[in-house]
Subunit: 309 residues, 2 copies
């Protein structure tokens, strides 16, 4: 951890469930904020604390903050905020740094970064996060950052206000690539846990015993230790929504396809979570995929393939 | 850990890569052994240390040890050792305890236990292990035990000579069920790691960075932490053979099928590891599944299905 950074003027665009607490933490650390959100009312709490509400992303840039943070939902959102009619590039001064905390496509990220650098002398860092709204509130997010390393080092003290594990992942796009890889590891481990628990139940094996034994060995994972007990208890409350995981897996799938890399587990995970979403579980936690296995009495390739059509 | 058990007369059947060091550890703890192995020469080292070599499983039983341990390869092996012409049931005295460290089918295990109890007054505990030959040598295996709990408590001090984590998993078959569940969790996590590393490589993301970042979050697993670096280094040396995992997955699949439970991830894992084995990787470590992804430039459902036929 570095010494606290001197107060700066910062921009923050996207004040949703993640962005709002992140912006709040930056203000609590003493920084001055100019903010924008598609639904302006979500800025109220920040404005009451002294933030300036801008009329557009372009107006955030026109206020000349040193760094603008973004946290929105998907790739087209980021593109519009950067390059739209009222996008920030329209009124940004050369030398601006943009830090994108959204989870979006790594290849598109690289294009955005190149275009911002070439046409506007703006440095773009991709900095997706994990750790959920709780991590955003507590400033304990994991942040994986792609882009110019010297600029990363420059903004690192600000990122350390937002997160606990702040890692430089490599050139532009590598933060997003890292996030996509993480969701692949998450999905594989989770599906393994779900099928292990389904088999345990069918066999009459006590789930807690199985979780304890398997956790202590080569089958151990964060997913097993944290979501295994929730599945056993029928607790489907979201840590992370199934629909958010689906969005992230779609990014991983698009990226893999752009690189001509078929991935069978990823395909399977997409199909299963799509079916769970169609079944009404999209706003439940990822562990609710177990509910689908129970409902259908398991899953086969054939079933998951028919589910896609 | 209990106080050291008093010396006993024990039987040990199956002196392979696992059984031999396990039997040795029991002798080192002061117990007297009567042993049998299909290939008698594998008993030489134990006989030199004072073990008695029997002519058959029946002869092991005839020597009247208090407990007979088994560690062989598959379900028919166990069945023959128990119930064959020269099987131990033929000459066992009522009250014998048989502890089966083999990894075999949980449902068959329950049938064996019932038959031994009903026809021979023999108590059968299923006690599959994990931790590999190193764990067997060092007495640090994980042992998950199904069967009569009071008999488990009786033999627990002996099991603690063999392993570090000795857990009672429930009634007969639950040790084997636990092992099957473990291999499902292992397979899901491993396939997630393999696909994450394949995507990282295609994207130009540094593997070690990805492993570090993902390990610290919800994608973390034993497989990622331990096999991720080996995959990155191209180190395919076996901790656990692909062909052994295939055998265990076949047991899980048979068990699931016996309980009418289709499991899509398990199906996928079986197909991928079968293809790896056909590709000559059966005697490599499970992490060598990554080699197959590299060779074929990834994997699709379609490819893995054609591989099955």
């Amino acid at each position: 951890m570095s010494t606290p950074p001197p107060p700066r003027h910062l921009g923050f665009i996207g004040l949703g469930i993640m962005g709002q607490p992140m912006a709040t933490n930056l203000m609590s650390a003493g920084h001055r904020l100019t903010v924008w959100n598609r639904t302006p009312s979500k800025a109220n709490a920040l404005v009451e604390r002294g933030a300036t509400l801008a009329d557009s992303p372009a107006d955030v840039a026109a206020a000349q903050p040193e760094v603008i943070f973004l946290n929105v939902t998907n790739t087209p959102d980021v593109e519009a905020i950067l390059f739209g009619d009222q996008g920030l590039a329209a009124k940004a001064s050369p030398g601006l740094i943009v830090v994108d905390h959204s989870t979006i496509n790594p290849v598109e990220t690289q294009r955005f970064a190149q275009r911002l650098q070439d046409d506007h002398q703006i440095t773009f860092l991709d900095a997706p996060v994990s750790g959920g709204d709780i991590g955003a509130q507590n400033g304990t997010l994991s942040i994986m950052v792609g882009g110019d390393e010297s600029v990363f080092n420059q903004v690192r003290p600000l990122l350390e206000v937002l997160g606990k594990n702040v890692t430089y992942a490599g050139p532009s796009g590598m933060g997003q690539a890292c996030k996509a890889c993480s969701q692949l590891a998450v999905s594989g481990a989770l599906l393994g846990v779900v099928e292990a628990l389904a088999l345990a139940k069918k066999m009459g094996l006590d789930s807690s015993t199985m979780i304890d034994v398997v956790s202590s060995g080569a089958g151990g994972s964060w997913q097993l230790a944290n979501l295994g007990p929730k599945i056993t208890a029928g607790d489907h409350a979201p840590g992370f929504f199934i629909d958010y995981l689906r969005k992230d897996l779609a990014i991983a799938a698009d990226t893999a396809q752009q690189r001509d890399l078929p991935l069978a587990l990823l395909e399977l995970a997409e199909r299963l979570f799509a079916e769970a979403s169609q079944d009404g579980a999209g706003q439940l936690g990822t562990q609710a995929i177990a509910r689908l296995y129970e409902k259908h009495g398991g899953f086969t390739f054939a079933k998951s393939q028919s589910a896609k059509s």
